[in-house]
Amino acid sequence: MLIYLDNAATTKIDPRVFAKMKDFYFNHYGNASSIHFLGQANDLKIAECKEKVAKIFNSQPENIVFTGSATEANNFIIKGVMRANKNKGNHLIVSNIEHPCVMNSARELVAEGFELDFAPVDSKGLIKLDELAKLIRPTTVLVSIMAVNNEIGVIQDLAAISKLVHASGAYFHTDAVQAVPYLKIDIKKLNIDYLTISAHKFHGPLGVGAVFINRKIKIKALISGGGQENNLRSGTYNVPGIVGLTEALLLSYKERGEYLKKVKALRNYLWQRIKKEIPDVVLNGDFVKRTPNNLNILFRRIEGEAILMDLSFKGICVSTGSACSAVNLKVSSVLRSIGLVEDNLNSNIRFTLGKYNTKKEIDYTIKCLKDTVKRLRAFTPIK
């Protein structure tokens, strides 16, 4: 029994994506920097992939840099833009619900002498635009605010934020790792300078991410070497990975309409039944401005990890927050940011659905969840 409701952590690869990768591993395995035909064919393939990926976000192929992960991409943007634009300023703003790879990149820069501010969110998880406006200074170089939060699935108003950021001449980065395929993002129209995606979050392979950049803005490479990606990201091109990312992205957006309908129905069904059949639960984050695959629920008086483990033994995979904070003991700073009181910070479960989930799975999950909550609440010390 395996019911996978942790699709924000990673997703199962789509067999069609895998088939494409396999073809490249066995039949088109040339190093894309090699001059011979096997290499140059892959060079063309990468160009083709960039064209396809760019089209989805209405950007230009030459703005794309493929990386080894979204984490690498976010490190590259945050550190690379700040370090390369010291003449412009030394101030950086990130929201206080960013993924640790943005957060920690930003914090590292403080040690290098940069100044950092955190843009707060309201109780629904939405950026307070007026607060953000107050934080922006003439020396602000970059503002990084995620499109969709990984814990609560809340969607930011990218248009408004981008406008605000650019009004004062700063650059705008958005971590869109959790936005595929839930949002249709028009990079040109929204005037986004940098945007990050990660293949394994949309049924693509692990070990490959991509970032859109603004070629007019100076940036410093994080990984230097053989000069690939126009000297912005060195290392042998991961052709099967790039092909896989591209295919997964195309499929995600091609099948988006149907998928969104299905996943939203399932997600809403799950929430309706939980709300009705389990007492003392609260939904964390806005319900409307939220991707249709995400639920993040407070189960009062019992501990999240215990719920998770109990469900795990029944074959159900959920999470207490982000996967990366799971194995260290830190509570969710996202939930704290949206105002959860200390007592409730350890009682939350994230359900993130994906394209392979079925109603039967959700029914089984609800049945198990009721048992789990009942069992654990039977011996909780909390009133």
Partner: protein, 164 residues
């Protein structure tokens, strides 16, 4: 960092022994971990200086529940003096090891045990109108039975296991 639990930990999480509250308990104590938010409430029944029953309520993760469960089994029948000397290493080794970041759960459980005994002794002293020091001799005897060396011996293989 792994969060892989041993079979015994899992069993004690899924089927915790002695969870709940002792009826007409002789003492009650709450402990909590500020960092991870875990909480335990122990209730105890003491008969003839021995622990007849120890129960707990838990707000905590799987290993919090499992360590409390194992503890409640282990100390049953112990004299209070024996119980006061009970070391968290014994829980860890009994479970066949705990993930490094979960060792503190066993420490919290033992802290709770000590606290509930202390509350019991205070209650007793209050009722008898004198301080509860009478059993000092027994304590020493028991301590002699469990030399420090043995504890270290138990601890070592556990740590080795965790490192993997």
């Amino acid at each position: 960092m792994s969060l892989n639990y041993t079979k015994k930990t899992i069993d004690n999480f899924l089927h915790p022994k002695n969870s709940g509250e002792v009826k007409n308990a002789d003492a009650r104590a709450d402990v909590g971990n500020m960092v991870c938010g875990d909480q335990l409430t122990f209730t105890i029944k003491v008969v003839d200086g021995k622990i007849k029953e120890l129960k707990y309520l838990s707000f905590g993760c799987a290993s919090n529940i499992a360590t409390a469960s194992v503890l409640s089994e282990k100390v049953k029948g112990m004299t209070l003096a024996q119980a006061k000397k009970f070391n968290w290493n014994e829980i860890v080794s009994d479970l066949g090891g705990l993930p490094t970041q979960k060792i503190h759960c066993s420490v919290l459980a033992v802290e709770g045990l000590q606290k509930v005994i202390a509350v019991y002794e205070k209650n007793q002293a209050k009722m008898a109108g004198k301080p509860a020091v009478a059993k000092k001799a027994v304590t020493k005897k028991v301590a002699a039975k469990k030399p420090v060396a043995k504890k270290v011996a138990i601890k070592k293989p556990v740590n080795k296991k965790l490192k993997k």
